[in-house]
């Protein structure tokens, strides 16, 4: 583990940007460490990686990482990433979002990026709450939980992120938690390597806002819940019925299908062989 920390140190903008903005005990830093280890394990060049984020606690992640980093507007990270990936198909474009960022304001961009199957890696840090703005309900806040905007209780159903991604057409969908860090490293590695739209839901927690509103006062307590409530996808497959609140970890979907930028390269080849547009216009009788 110690050696691992040394390994990620060189990927950090450590000279100016620290201390970071996250609360002590937050899970987002764990996801960042995991992402850095997976990038290092894959031996990707720092110049070839772009990290793109939206707004919120998770959106602050790229500023600390020494890659090409783009901190965009709320919910739009995947749309920015789509443009960058088309301009630079050779780059490894990784998008980091929170649950509110990816699924509420960015929900439309999320399903359409999945539908296009463009080669992006979407990492969604799911802490079930809007942390930076002070603990308001998010699209993944569980039914019955309390939040700053659900003082009586939350009466909306949470989005199942992974099922949504699979249904929308993502090539690779996996779920990990910030407790099972080594596993999260491996899942992120697979997701980055995948040619196509890859989603990793990193289940985290926010003890500062969600925990306070729901009587879970320490990060340790919330971390323990991740440990106790999660099961591997292999174990889940053997069960007839999943226990309530179970977090299924592992690769949930992995499929090979045509990727958008590769298909577009075929379009470019095809378009080169066509007659000049002016000739076609004349044939069609309009100029």
């Amino acid at each position: 583990m110690k050696q691992d920390d040394q390994g990620i140190y060189e990927y950090l903008r450590h000279h100016k940007k620290f201390p970071h903005v996250w609360c002590a005990g937050c899970g987002i830093g764990i996801v960042m460490g995991s992402l850095l280890r997976s990038i290092r394990n894959l031996e990707l060049g720092r110049d070839d990686v772009a990290i793109i984020s939206g707004i919120g606690c998770a959106g602050r992640m790229p500023v600390y990482m020494d890659f090409n980093t783009l901190h965009t507007t709320h919910g739009r990270a995947l749309a920015f990433a789509t443009g960058l990936k088309l301009a630079r198909p050779d780059m490894e474009v990784i998008v980091v979002m929170g649950d509110g960022d990816a699924l509420a304001i960015g929900g439309n961009h999320f399903i359409h990026a999945a539908r296009r199957n463009i080669d992006l890696t979407a990492v969604i840090v799911n802490n079930s709450i809007y942390g930076m703005t002070g603990g308001q309900s998010s699209p993944t806040t569980p039914l019955g939980a309390f939040s700053a905007t659900a003082p009586y209780r939350h009466i909306e159903q949470p989005f199942p992120i992974c099922q949504l991604a699979i249904a929308a057409g993502a090539s690779f969908v996996a779920r990990g938690t910030v407790y099972h860090v080594t596993e999260l490293d491996r899942l992120l590695e697979q997701a980055i390597q995948k040619r196509g739209f890859a989603v990793v839901e990193a289940v985290s927690y926010c003890y500062t806002t969600f925990g306070r509103a729901n009587k879970m006062r320490s990060p340790v307590e919330m971390m323990r819940l991740l440990k106790e409530n999660s099961i591997t996808v292999q174990a889940a497959q053997k069960m007839e019925k999943l226990p309530d609140g179970a977090i299924v970890r592992g690769v949930l979907h992995n499929e090979d299908k045509p990727e958008y930028t590769e298909l577009y390269d075929q379009i470019i080849e095809q378009a080169h062989g066509q007659p000049s547009p002016r000739k076609r216009q004349v044939r069609r009788g309009w100029a």
Binding site: K17, L70, H71, T82, L84, L86, A87
Partner: protein
């Protein structure tokens, strides 16, 4: 050089391609869709990329993403989509990302009348996105100018690292004219400045003498941070006044210093004019006809100042042209938007607003009426004057 019969939207797309545009992201909307269709067909032929996004918010985001990747990028839309793009237009201003946004204006507010012309988004062009910011907006008045000003828009965007808006009205967008487009080689093309220093010295938001720091595309070894938050010369978020203040001053100064180049206009019969018409886009064509009628039929000395640049507002040109006239008529397809700027510059008493917001063009007769009115007061033009 070949003489062609082209539509304004088509000329705009050709201008973009000539200027070196290699990325288009958009969402279908009348009356701008032809631009997307032409770009979808033409871009892959020159190795560029076209993508139809899920909405205009995403379109604008993808345009910025592609520009960060080093491609000249654009989108085109109309009022409802322009409203959605405002969020990321603001981002492009703060992050200083070159890009071009074409708005083929139709009647609003809201869905309005999709197929009828308007010029009522010109104030939105100025202040549509939140916060204080400079902006460049151009308004072509003919099919040829749709080509020329789209090229200019890309040149300004690249030179000043800023989004540039092409505010075309539906009349110009859909009108067909005989044009002789210049060859690619004879058109001046400006490309963004690349850094000449090693990566460790590179300041993507620094303060060079030109006020426009060089822009390195992602993936070229210059690893840096781009954000919509106010930032320091390296691009990292900051709240320090000594870092924010110079940045704010610079993004205004980089435009203000170059008003001579950016502000474009055209004068017609102004030498002896006692009445000055100020118009832009298709409305300037009505104004030209009004001048002919007023001079020939009524012996009125009328001139025209046609604005090709709306923002930054060419106030010196307006001030000079309006100096010796008794009356300034501002004709536009809205109920007085650029007129506010003209009033600011020449004073309210002289200015007469001639406008309409019903999806019809301002007619030459409407303008002639205003020229002939005994007092320089607004003829009520909320409803079109029947002629």
């Amino acid at each position: 050089m070949t003489i062609q019969l082209l539509q304004g939207n088509h000329a705009c797309a050709r201008g973009a391609l000539t200027a070196g545009c290699r990325f288009y992201a958009g969402y279908p909307i009348t009356p701008s869709s032809e631009i997307a269709e032409i770009m979808a067909r033409e871009l892959p032929r020159v190795g560029g990329k076209f993508i139809q996004m899920e909405d205009e918010i995403a379109s604008m985001a993808a345009v910025i993403g592609a520009s960060v990747g080093g491609l000249k990028a654009m989108t085109a839309t109309s009022g409802p989509g322009f409203s959605l793009m405002q969020e990321n237009i603001g981002y492009a201003i703060v992050a200083e990302i070159p890009c071009v946004v074409v708005n083929v204006m139709r009647v609003g507010p809201s869905t309005g009348i999709a197929t009828h012309p308007s010029q009522a988004d010109v104030m939105q062009a100025r202040w549509g996105t939140h916060g204080d910011h400079p902006i460049i907006a151009l308004a072509p008045g003919s099919v040829l100018e749709a080509f020329e000003l789209t090229v200019k828009a890309f040149n300004f965007a690249e030179k000043y690292r800023t989004p540039v808006l092409v505010m075309m009205d539906e009349v110009v967008g859909h009108m067909r004219e005989k044009v002789d487009l210049p060859d690619a080689g004879s058109v001046e093309i400006v490309n963004r400045e690349m850094p000449s220093v090693p990566p460790e010295w590179y300041e993507p938001f620094g303060n060079p003498p030109s006020d426009v720091p060089p822009l390195a595309p992602f993936g070229e070894g210059y690893r840096y941070h781009i954000t919509g938050m106010l930032h320091d010369p390296r691009g990292f978020p900051t709240e320090r006044l000594d870092e924010i203040q110079p940045w704010i001053e610079r993004i205004f100064r980089k435009i203000d210093r170059h008003l001579d180049e950016i502000c474009m206009w055209e004068e017609d019969s102004v030498e002896d004019a006692r009445v000055l018409i100020i118009a832009y886009g298709a409305t300037a064509r009505s104004a030209r006809q009004a001048i002919k009628i007023a001079r020939a039929r009524y012996g009125r000395k009328v001139g025209l100042l046609r604005l090709k640049t709306l923002w930054p507002f060419p106030e010196e040109a307006v001030e000079r042209a309006a100096e010796d006239v008794q009356r300034v008529i501002v004709a536009e397809m809205n109920l007085g938007q650029m007129a506010l700027e003209v009033e600011r510059v020449v004073g309210r008493k002289k200015v007469v607003r001639v406008g309409r917001a019903d999806g019809q063009m301002v007619t030459p007769e409407q303008i002639v009426d205003a020229i002939r009115a005994p007092q320089p007061q607004a003829v009520s033009l909320r409803v079109a004057v029947p002629w």
